[in-house]
């Protein structure tokens, strides 16, 4: 009898122990899963905050980064406080770009809210360079999305030789205008919410 009692008590105690271990294991697994899930959500949220930067500017791309890139291509840039102006003269053709700061959003003051890219005195020999020039600026908000970049580039290629036109791509308004008086063609790109 003592042996059977001992076995019974032992089996009861080991059952409790295994229950505790099971509960502990389940708790640990659930803790880790919830932790990983929350980490992923927080990570994406953090990225998304930057990606859309208040829905008011070109995501994650500082205005000075763009300016430095243009300077590296030989363009001359000047800080106009509310915007940066960059230009390049090649012969009679002038390439001008005004990069406007996101001034109404404090945290994103160093980011671009609007771009005005102009080509003055374009002619038949500048079509290719002019298209690449404007396409580069137009692709800035969607630089990580090749299909959208292609879509914007296709619209530009169609409209460069045509008159005024406007289109909307993923929250951005693109307007292309041709001015006969100043012999210029201008692309304006800015955020739109409708």
């Amino acid at each position: 009898m003592p042996y059977s009692v001992f076995v019974t008590v032992e089996s009861t105690q080991s059952g409790r122990r295994s229950r505790r271990i099971a509960v502990g294991t389940i708790g640990l697994v659930v803790f880790l899963l919830a932790g990983l899930g929350a980490y992923a959500v927080a990570y994406n949220d953090r990225k998304q905050d930057t990606k859309y930067c208040g829905h008011d500017c070109v995501p994650g791309l500082k205005i000075t980064t763009v300016v430095e890139a243009l300077k590296g291509q030989g363009h001359t840039c000047a800080d106009e406080r509310r915007s940066w102006s960059c230009e390049l003269k090649v012969g009679k053709v002038r390439f001008e770009a005004d990069l406007f700061r996101a001034g109404n959003v404090v945290d994103f003051y160093d980011y671009i809210s609007k771009v005005e890219a102009r080509i003055i005195n374009p002619d038949s020999t500048t079509a290719a360079a002019g298209l690449d020039y404007m396409s580069w600026f137009a692709a800035l908000p969607h630089r990580d999305d090749p299909p959208t970049v292609k879509k914007v580039g296709g619209w530009l290629a169609e409209q460069v030789g045509a008159g005024e036109d406007v289109t909307y791509v993923l929250g951005w308004e693109y307007r292309l205008r041709r001015n006969e008086k100043t012999r210029s063609i201008e692309l304006t790109m800015k955020r739109r919410y409708w």
């Binding site: 003592p2 502990g24 929350a38 953090r46 930057t50 994650g60 980064t65 030989g74 690449d132 580069w136």
Partner: protein
């Protein structure tokens, strides 16, 4: 000893507590002994269930009260023969099986609620604290035909090629530098060359440049009149000189300039944009883009 209904049983149901010691059960209990103490309602009376009671004996004669009271006062079950004294001095009653199951369920449910909540808080905090937002991504690469500063200069054209080899050496022209930069082209330096003879007032070649091998534009002007041979020759020689590094292109350029010297025309040959105009009678060479 015969088992008494209402007295606590050991967890395995093989012993019952008689108030002083665990006794083996000789007749099987009618049901799971551990359930009896929990299923009964509390007995009436002021002493029922009070934790301060020291006596293990029930105050009320009823079996239900005695049962519940005994459950609370019975020492922990130690099987007889295990060497330990039967009545434990601590006074802690053995927990019935159902109570253990309830605790297990409670602990499990609590764990399932607390673990994800805690994990979520910790994971979220770690995610926010360790994830550095990409606030300054590199600028996208430039397309192949994006206009660059190198395109500001006439390809393969040098100041020496125009001013010295063509104008000064071959035609005895005299050249003078401009002290100020050109606001229109942005060139840092300028030079104007004129013939050494009487035609110096009617013909000129202007050169804008940033350095000896960085020539931005060359412009020839001839006021001797449209369709004059001297003006046509000047424009043809200028085109020939600017495209001199390429034999094929220099002939093509020379021919084009001779043909279009007296009208408004424009072309691009070898990266050089040539444009003629009758009024003023001139031909200008700038980089083609």
């Amino acid at each position: 000893m015969t088992a008494q209904p209402g007295w606590p049983y050991s967890p395995d149901g093989r012993f019952w507590w008689d108030g002083t010691a665990w006794q083996p059960v000789q007749t099987p209990p009618p049901g799971p002994p551990a359930q009896q103490g929990l299923t009964m309602p509390p007995p009436p009376g002021p002493a029922t269930g009070h934790p301060s009671m020291a006596s293990p004996w029930p105050q009320a004669p009823g079996p239900q009260a005695a049962q519940l009271y005994a459950v609370q006062q019975t020492p922990p079950y130690v099987p007889p023969g295990a060497g330990a004294p039967s009545p434990a001095p601590s006074g802690v009653a053995p927990r019935p099986r159902r109570s253990g199951t309830a605790v297990f369920v409670l602990v499990t449910v609590g764990t399932l609620i607390a673990a994800p909540a805690l994990g979520g808080v910790v994971g979220g905090a770690v995610g926010l604290a360790t994830t550095e937002p990409v606030t300054d991504a590199p600028a996208p690469s430039f397309p192949a035909r994006f206009p660059t500063g190198k395109q500001r200069y006439l390809p393969k054209v040098t100041l020496n090629m125009v001013a010295v080899n063509w104008l000064q050496a071959a035609n005895s022209w005299r050249c003078a530098r401009f002290p100020a930069p050109d606001p229109l082209s942005g060139a840092k330096m300028g030079m104007i060359c004129r013939p050494g003879d009487a035609a110096r007032l009617s013909m000129s070649v202007q050169i804008w440049y940033d350095g000896p091998d960085k020539v931005l534009s060359v412009k020839a002007r001839c006021d001797l009149g449209v369709r004059t041979k001297a003006c046509t020759n000047l424009f043809s020689m200028m085109a020939d000189s600017l495209l001199s590094p390429d034999r094929t292109l220099r002939k093509q350029a020379e021919a084009w300039a001779g043909k279009n010297a007296d009208k408004a025309a424009v072309t691009a040959i070898g990266g050089v944009r040539l444009e003629t105009s009758p009024r003023p009678h001139a031909m200008e060479a700038v980089p083609a883009i």
